[in-house]
């Protein structure tokens, strides 16, 4: 049997006294997976543990290869692209430099030309400084530079945060297209609308563990679960998030 793309087993992270991840078990296969949960449940810490930015114990395997203990750049080169919360584009670099910095010489897979095709607004603003872009454009840039690593898996932390509703609609299309290109997707979202639109499978995180694994349609139909795990109802999340 083939190894799952990403297999997380008994993953623990402690910050001093606080035990943030308390034995996370999760599998991501070829299909996108959304991870939802309230603030402070450990979603971002899980992203940082997968990408090697915080120390963790336990196991994270990418196609069977153990990642725990590797340094962030080694994990990135093995095929995990990180799109962090808040986008974290480099203020000192232009759009084009962001892409050239990551792009490799070989022309198989993602190239700068190909990401410009996916995100035409970036092509139009390639000489601009990254912080001159709008929030939506910065998000495109954060995704584009991660794609240039030719990742097997994209780990995305709250990509819809702070984007206008119309931009969020576009983002959903982009993420679906990325998934269609064969890139695995672990999507951390507060916005249940986005989470369920992009992925059929949804995991819910509660205080450092994966409490429930379900499907998008089941979660959308189960308002009691939404209130219990997310403190929201779907009617709530469909409403427009504030524009940044």
């Amino acid at each position: 049997m083939a190894e799952p793309l990403l297999q997380i087993a008994d993953l623990n992270v402690r910050y001093g006294q606080s035990h943030v991840l308390q034995g996370v078990n999760l599998e991501v296969g070829a299909e996108p997976l959304s991870l939802v949960g309230r603030n402070g449940m450990g979603k971002t810490t899980l992203c940082n543990a997968i990408t090697g930015l915080v120390n963790a114990t336990g196991s994270v395997k990418l196609a069977g290869r153990e990642l725990v203990g590797l340094r962030p750049h080694e994990i990135a080169r093995l095929g995990i692209g990180y799109v962090p919360q808040g986008r974290r584009v480099f203020a000192s670099l232009s759009v084009e430099e962001h892409l050239r910095m990551v792009a490799r010489r070989d022309t198989t897979g993602w190239t700068i030309g190909k990401v410009y095709e996916l995100f035409p607004p970036l092509a139009a603003r390639k000489k601009n400084g990254a912080t001159q872009l709008s929030g939506g454009e910065q998000q495109m840039l954060a995704i584009a530079r991660a794609l240039l690593l030719n990742p097997h898996l994209l780990v995305m932390d709250e990509p819809s945060e702070g984007l206008a509703p119309i931009v969020v609609e576009h983002l959903i299309d982009v993420l679906r297209n990325v998934a269609k290109e064969g890139v695995g997707l672990l999507l951390v979202e507060q916005n249940l609308g986005v989470a369920t639109a992009v992925a059929d499978r949804v995991a819910i995180m509660v205080t450092g563990i994966i409490a429930v694994e379900t499907t998008s349609s089941e979660l959308l139909a189960d308002e009691a679960a939404q209130r219990r795990f997310l403190g929201v109802s779907s009617a709530h999340t469909e409403a427009a998030p504030a524009s940044a």
């Binding site: 090697g52 962030p72 750049h73 990135a76 990180y82 480099f90 000192s92 050239r100 910095m101 991660a146």
Partner: protein, 292 residues
């Protein structure tokens, strides 16, 4: 021209040429601090070591340029050894790194004192710049050719660093790393290697500026404190991690020191620190620095 005016022009020229030296010293310091967040307390000692390397190499070979090169290369190699052997093991622990580099500074300075003694050495300038240049509006109508040449050297260092930062791949990594180190590593860049490159470059610049300083001024072992302090002030005024900031900071501090020294010698050092305190109060990130 009146004497007051020639005095003023001469003082300003002294200030600008001193600023050239400060800039070369501080450029390495600001890059190291901006990227590694390491306050290299041995930066002044690296200046001193570079100066003595220059003294010896020029004494043996008679070639000033060879002394300059040796100052850069040897201190750069020492920087690599310090970084790999000590600092890389305590990445992110600012206080430990500061203490370790203070220790290194003491060792370098004491070894210099043991070997060269407490007397001042002066490196003879390259023959081309050994004399004076006629400038009608300075005191005496003549000005040191080497001090003017320091302006060219500073401009060359600025240009070289600008090209590295803006036109090379490692330069992109350095700028990105100054903005957000973790994100850079998550994009597949081995940040530790970029750190090593920058530390070696910064140390080399300190060593090279020691050779220039020992030619223009002179060198004694206890000068490390002064150049460390000047670098700190220049970088605080200009903005951490900014090349242009180091240039502007150096110009302000160089001029302030020389003008203060001539017109109000008692308050010269005071003026320097008033400027620093003023910048910290009004613009804590420095004139060209980005808010933290």
């Amino acid at each position: 021209m009146s004497k007051d005016l020639t005095d003023f022009v001469t003082v300003c020229l002294n200030g600008v040429t001193l600023a050239a030296l400060y800039f070369i010293v501080a450029s390495g310091f600001t890059l190291i601090f901006g990227l590694l967040r390491t306050t290299n307390m041995a930066h002044g000692a690296m200046y001193v070591l570079g100066a003595y390397v220059g003294v010896s190499v020029v004494a043996i070979t008679g070639e000033w340029w060879l002394g300059l090169l040796a100052g850069f290369v040897l201190v750069s190699l020492l920087g690599i050894a310090i970084h790999l052997g000590l600092l890389a093991w305590m990445a992110g622990q600012d206080l430990r790194q500061a203490l370790v580099t203070i220790g290194i500074a003491i060792i370098i300075v004491d070894l210099s004192l043991a070997h060269y003694g407490g007397v001042a050495y002066l490196i003879p300038p390259p023959e081309l710049f050994a004399g004076a240049v006629s400038i009608p509006w300075v005191v005496g109508g003549q000005y040191s050719a080497f001090r003017l040449f320091m302006l060219v050297l500073a401009a060359a260092v600025y240009l070289a660093l600008w090209l590295i930062l803006n036109r090379t791949r490692i330069g992109m990594y350095i700028r990105a790393g100054i903005d957000d180190r973790d994100m850079l590593s998550a994009l597949g860049v081995n940040v530790a290697r970029v750190f090593l490159f920058v530390f070696a470059l910064g140390a080399g610049l300190a060593g090279m500026s020691g050779v220039i300083g020992a030619t223009a001024l002179s060198i004694t072992p206890n000068e490390d404190g002064w150049f460390l302090l000047s670098s700190l002030v220049v970088v605080i005024v200009g903005g951490m991690g900014s090349l242009g900031g180091a240039a502007i900071g150096a110009l302000i501090i160089g001029l302030a020191q020389q003008i203060g020294l001539f017109y109000a010698p008692t308050y010269s050092i005071f003026i320097t620190f008033v400027i620093m305190a003023g910048v910290l109060a009004v613009r804590p990130q420095g004139l060209l620095g980005k808010p933290a």
